[in-house]
């Protein structure tokens, strides 16, 4: 237990840089104040989204509770929280347990594997609890207010929340522990992880879309109630299949001994799973960590006569190096490829017979597109959509420099100008964005059944439109990269530059849309507007790449490792 405390404190400091924060705050350095200010801004922007969520939950709760279906609100809240903890928690658990830089060092220390496992899992648990607060607590509080429950309900809610957060993580670790030990024997385990991740994401999306397509038709409260009434059996079945969900629901909705019995069972189940996970970790966690370091070596002799060498330009060299690293690091590959899958699915949905074919919003959007007789207008809309989707969550651009991590020093050693290095990275970001656009164009052709000429026009315009967004996102990451990370997940998932990149993209596309709307109101013909946007996009390409080169000159020279 003492070692648990020591290691937990160390990991907490290491993970969140607490000591550095404390010392910076004590000295009130401008850097610390700036970071606090940025954090505050992020909180404010997230608060807006939370406000909308609370409003929705309030509306949902009023509708359900008036029909005496309050339990359904708790069901949705708990189910969504547990599901997201299972998905996000598994990713985090894998990265901190197996891919952290300290994994090897910890194996060598006289600390039992179960202690290391417990500390790392606790850290993920804490993080997931923090993330779940804005998701589940509005549900508890709004339910509590509408049902006029007492303090006991909130005490039970705290216990249920803590257990509901721990159970998906523990279940995940029970699967992860043997899987990681076993998968270490696979030669192509990274590829399997990426493909498996994408398949899981597709399943997750399919389930979510099914639910959304059903609820989207039920903005009318009576329809929503009748739907939920009709599905009560299904919910009960889900609750039976997932016992923690059923126990949590019963603990919160029932009263008296029944409620406390369910609560006790929930706590008991958590404790039991925790004990099993600890026991299992003692046996196979360490072996799994060590196995990740093992590799298949064939050591085949090279026949030098057959090796062909080519000389690439520095930009292409950077491009290919980054591409290889991107595709071979599971977390980068998964996040970038997943986006392509998501967007393709979205555009293929209108195909008849698909789940979302009956989605009214999608239907009205498609109808609107078909109602436009002017192909220039459709091309403009498509170009905007392609550019927005291909660059809005473009981690290839927004984390390009951060992904260098400790290898950044090479950038300062090699005889390649900082501008050329940045351009190499921009090329990869653009290639990725254009690939998404192309994929969406193909999906648009198949899914939306638009004419080839229109889609081609939209795609062509999206090519220059993507440049400023990528260049600006890349500039931000070059000026302020997050190089100090202990596993690749941190470089992309916990990187503020990704969020800033999204905001830049949103602002840029909004601005371009506003220009288009204003021009149309002033009577500018769509064909002329299409040509004008080309000119504007090219001008912005020149401006943004100039800015990128300037950012590279400043950013690369400033960062010292």
């Amino acid at each position: 237990m003492q070692k648990y405390g020591i290691l937990f404190k160390e990991q907490l400091c290491q993970r969140f840089g607490l000591v550095a924060w404390k010392s910076e705050l004590r000295s009130a350095s401008p850097g610390a104040l700036k970071r606090l200010l940025v954090a505050l801004l992020v909180v404010i922007s997230l608060a807006a989204a939370e406000g909308f969520y609370v409003w929705f939950i309030h509306w949902f709760a009023r509708t359900l509770i008036s029909a005496r279906l309050g339990g359904a609100l708790l069901f949705f809240g708990l189910f969504a929280t547990m599901l997201s903890t299972l998905v996000m928690g598994t990713v985090m658990l894998l990265s901190v347990l197996y891919f952290n830089r300290d994994a090897e060092a910890l194996v060598a220390l006289p600390i039992s594997p179960r202690t290391v496992f417990a500390v790392k899992t606790s850290l993920v648990y804490l993080g997931e609890c923090a993330v779940s607060i804005p998701l589940i607590w509005p549900v508890f509080i709004i339910y509590g207010i509408f049902e006029r429950v007492g303090a006991i309900f909130y005490i039970k809610s705290i216990i249920v929340w803590l257990c509901a957060m721990s159970l998906p993580l523990l279940l995940s670790s029970l699967v992860t522990l043997p899987l990681m030990r076993w998968s270490a024997l696979w030669k192509r385990r990274d590829m399997i992880a990426v493909v498996g991740g994408i398949v899981l994401l597709m399943l997750y999306m399919a389930g979510q879309m099914w639910l959304t397509s059903r609820i989207a038709n039920m903005i009318d409260a009576s329809l929503l109630i009748s739907f939920i009434m009709g599905k009560l059996n299904l919910f009960n079945r889900i609750a039976r299949i997932i016992p923690p969900l059923g126990l949590s629901m019963n603990a919160l909705t029932q009263t008296g001994a029944g409620a406390w019995g369910n609560l006790a069972a929930l706590i008991g189940l958590s404790a039991l799973l925790f004990a099993i996970a600890l026991r299992l970790s003692d046996r196979i966690y360490q072996a799994g960590v060590i196995a990740q370091m093992e590799s298949h070596q064939t050591h085949r002799a090279i026949s030098w006569n057959r090796v062909r060498f080519v000389l690439r330009s520095p930009r292409m060299t950077i491009f290919f190096r980054d591409l290889r690293i991107l595709l071979r690091t599971p977390i980068y590959a998964l996040n970038s490829l997943a986006l392509m899958v998501v967007y393709s699915i979205i555009l293929l949905l209108p195909l008849s017979g698909s789940l979302m074919a009956s989605d009214p919003e999608m239907e009205s959007m498609v109808k609107f597109l078909y109602s436009l007789t002017d192909r220039w207008t459709v091309a403009l809309i498509l170009a905007g959509v392609f550019a927005l989707l291909s660059t809005s969550a473009n981690l290839v651009a927004s984390t390009a420099q951060s992904r260098e991590g400790k290898q950044f020093f090479w950038a300062r050693v090699v005889p390649v100008t900082y501008e050329s290095q940045a351009e190499g990275k921009l090329l990869l970001s653009l290639a990725y964005a254009w690939l998404i656009s192309l994929l969406m164009a193909i999906c648009g052709l198949v899914g939306l059944k638009l004419s080839l000429a229109t889609v081609a026009m939209g795609f062509c315009l999206s090519v220059p439109l993507a440049v400023p967004s990528c260049a600006l996102q890349l500039s931000v990451d070059i000026l302020k990269p997050k190089l100090n990370w202990s596993n690749p997940t941190e470089a992309v998932k916990q990187n503020m530059n990704m969020l800033i990149g999204m905001l830049i993209c949103a602002a840029y596309i909004t601005l371009m849309t506003l220009i288009c709307i204003l021009c149309i109101r002033w009577g500018v013909r769509a064909s002329l507007l299409y040509a004008m946007i080309w000119v504007v996009a090219i001008a912005l390409c020149v401006g943004s790449t100039t800015l990128l080169r300037k950012a590279a000159r400043i950013g690369y020279a400033r960062v010292e490792t």
């Binding site: 590799s295 298949h296 070596q297 064939t298 050591h299 085949r300 002799a301 090279i302 030098w304 090796v307 062909r308 060498f309 080519v310 000389l311 690439r312 330009s313 520095p314 292409m316 060299t317 950077i318 290919f320 190096r321 290889r324 690293i325 071979r328 690091t329 400790k406 290898q407 020093f409 300062r412 050693v413 090699v414 005889p415 390649v416 100008t417 020279a557 010292e560 490792t561």
Partner: protein, 245 residues
């Protein structure tokens, strides 16, 4: 070949300079050993020579040209081997070497020759198709050395190059270093292995708390400190040094 004049470097929040008014010259054809206790500022100096760090004051000149203002040309003349094996783990050995050859603009013919020569010499030619992360520490070091020498740089800057190398490879490297200098080029390397420095170096510099406290040939250092071996000279000069690295 390498000239360091009044170079100073202080890290943010550090109480003292990591490198304090350092001045030294390393001539062409010279094998220069850089010694010092941990935290003396050896790696900081090397990082400034190769351009990873920018000096707060002073000038570093390589082959008559200062790094500032001529960075690209100057970097082409340097082959740098870092102390930590922070290489690209997700690339294969061959991809890494090709990357290094591309950024230094090595022609296909020359790189084929150089890669074959060094990888056979260091006995890693059989592992070139494997990802770097599957390499042992020593293999990574050999790969990094090979990558640094592909473009036939005039100045080799090696930070603890012997660490992790097996006796055979260490011997090969020492021979290569000597041959490089005999051909009129320069090697600047840091080491903690005093025997290597004693047997290999033309001149030695000893750094302590960021200051150069002695430099010269082994004989000059011996006569200054009246010591019999480099170890005794080193211990006498650095006695009481507090390592903070």
């Amino acid at each position: 070949m390498l000239s360091i004049e009044n170079v100073r470097k202080k890290y943010a929040k550090a109480s003292r300079d990591a490198v304090d008014d350092l001045s030294m010259d390393v001539r062409a054809g010279e094998l220069f050993g850089f010694l010092g206790p941990n935290g003396a500022g050896k790696t900081t100096t090397i990082k400034m020579i190769v351009g990873i760090l920018t000096p707060d004051a002073g000038t570093i000149t390589i082959d008559g040209r200062p790094m500032r203002g001529n960075a690209i040309d100057v970097k082409r003349k340097i082959g740098y081997v870092p102390d930590a094996q922070d290489s690209y783990d997700r690339l294969t050995g061959m991809e890494y070497l090709n990357f290094m050859a591309d950024v230094y603009g090595v022609s296909p013919e020359s790189r084929a020759q150089q890669i074959e020569r060094y990888t056979k010499l260091f006995e890693i030619d059989g592992a070139l198709r494997e990802p770097v992360r599957s390499y042992s520490r020593g293999m990574k070091q050999k790969l990094t050395i090979t990558g640094a020498l592909l473009h036939k740089p005039r100045l080799w800057v090696l930070d603890e190059p012997m660490v992790g190398l097996d006796p055979h490879s260490a011997h090969v490297l020492k021979q290569e270093m000597r041959a490089h200098c005999d051909a009129g080029n320069t090697v600047f390397f840091s080491t903690h292995v005093l025997d290597v420095a004693e047997r290999l170096c033309d001149r030695i510099g000893i750094l302590r708390q960021g200051k150069l406290i002695a430099q010269g040939t082994l004989e000059q250092l011996r006569s200054d400190e009246r010591g019999a071996s480099l170890e005794q000279v080193f211990l006498e000069l650095t006695d009481g040094a507090d390592g903070e690295e």
